[in-house]
Subunit: 237 residues, 2 copies
DNA sequence: TAAAATAAAATCGTACACAATCTTTCAAAG
DNA sequence: CTTTGAAAGATTGTGTACGATTTTATTTTA
């Protein structure tokens, strides 16, 4: 009975490295804006950083590509995705459709489990806000939507939302919002209340305007950002 | 200027094989019920069939896994997915949310392009029905939903729908519908009319009941199906 | 000096070899 | 006859070598 027998665990010479961990590291680094859109993810460099062979790193990059957070270009390699304006609008359109539904659904199923999960998260959000940690606030705001989606008891749509949130994070990185998080926290708090009160229709409406607000604050003008060092972006636990 | 320079084209020894073609071949074989759920997709066997190395076949299987039509099991390999009952319900729930929205949206944007595409497809459907080709009818019915989704001008959601349709096909294979296509064609015709008349709300309602109908006709009792021969399932163009 | 051609370096694409793991077979014991 | 165990076979997991392609650097030429 070997419980460590996952698909992405390798044991070579006594040391074990989990591909899932590497995948999550890179995924999080992108979502958390530690890896700028357009950054060239060179295979050799990543292999050296994580201490694995190219075969496995390639599989990881392939997964990230399926998530649409990384672009694979023939004979040139992997790059952190740079969503176009049309893609940005599409992502938010899809989010409105799915997340409004999930908000309504969560409100219908409002249970103690949901109450706990969402209050716990809001505390984290407010804590980061109180500490003035802007970076942490941005991370938490993105995660709020994931927590909510996970509570709606619809794993497939929650999975879609996960991908859409990640792409949204890239969109925000490219078309930086003017005021990143002004009304954001307040709306999250209000939305949480509506859901816990079982007011599905109102929750859906607020989610819609909330998402439209985020999209509306985007600035669709060309900018370019300096790209960060791979090693320092990825290895700071 | 090499226009054939895609990510998945390899030229080895003069002959070129496209990974995308292989991916589509297997994907279609699964959706078209030429590859039964649970079938073990052995790497060596597939490599011999398509004449490529294991590295590339592995990448193809990885993509199919991301689409949820193939399950990758550690140290055991790839298998055609066998959706659980819960997964089946989830898939149809997600389809209702997304496809109802797309139907409504398509109705709002009803244009000549949509008219042509959908009429062309309905002709194919009816043609297959007239010819008594049951297999072809099933394929066309699945494709109707894809054509509709593609017309709604929402590529991301259309992509989600593509995956959900493929999974639905597997679900139908496992929990075989009692009367596979009785009312199906009629509803497609009626739905098309509503969309072309711009009646969005009614189109969404019909789509909802249509999908509930398909789900309702499923038979959730355990069955097992014999698995087909890989080579003959995949190589008949 | 600028443009074009060429050479060199970097990077990706693929196959393959060998290791790790799982499955099957078959014999021996209970 | 069933169960247990071990060995053989089959299959997947991973690193690495080599070829193909792209990019960068260098030289040549006008």
């Amino acid at each position: 009975m070997n419980k460590t027998s996952t698909l992405s665990t390798a044991s070579v010479g006594g040391e074990t490295v989990d591909s899932d961990q590497i995948y999550n590291r890179i995924f999080d680094a992108i979502v958390d804006h530690n890896l700028a859109p357009g950054t060239h993810l060179k295979e050799d460099e990543l292999c050296e950083i994580f201490g694995i062979g190219r075969t496995r790193m390639r599989a990881v990059l392939s997964r990230l590509s399926a998530d649409h957070v990384v672009d694979l270009v023939a004979n040139r390699g992997a790059f952190v995705a740079q969503p176009s304006v049309e893609e940005a609008r599409e992502v938010f359109r899809a989010r409105r459709v799915i997340e409004c539904h999930l908000a309504e659904r969560a409100a219908r199923n409002a249970s103690d489990t949901i109450r706990e999960a969402m209050h716990a998260h809001l505390q984290h959000e407010n804590h980061a806000r109180a500490a003035g940690d802007v970076v942490q606030v941005i991370k938490r705001c993105g995660k709020y939507h994931q927590v909510l989606a996970d509570q709606a008891d619809s794993p497939i749509m929650a999975h879609f939302v996960r991908e859409l949130i990640a792409r949204s994070s890239l969109i925000i990185a490219v078309y930086e919002a003017k005021n990143p998080d002004e009304a954001e926290l307040e709306e999250h708090t209000r939305l949480t209340e509506l859901i816990l009160e079982g007011k599905g229709a109102e929750a859906a409406t607020l989610m819609d305007s909330h998402l439209r607000g985020i999209e509306g604050r985007l600035d669709f003008s060309s900018k370019d950002k300096g790209k960060l060092d791979l090693r320092s972006s990825l290895l700071n636990k």
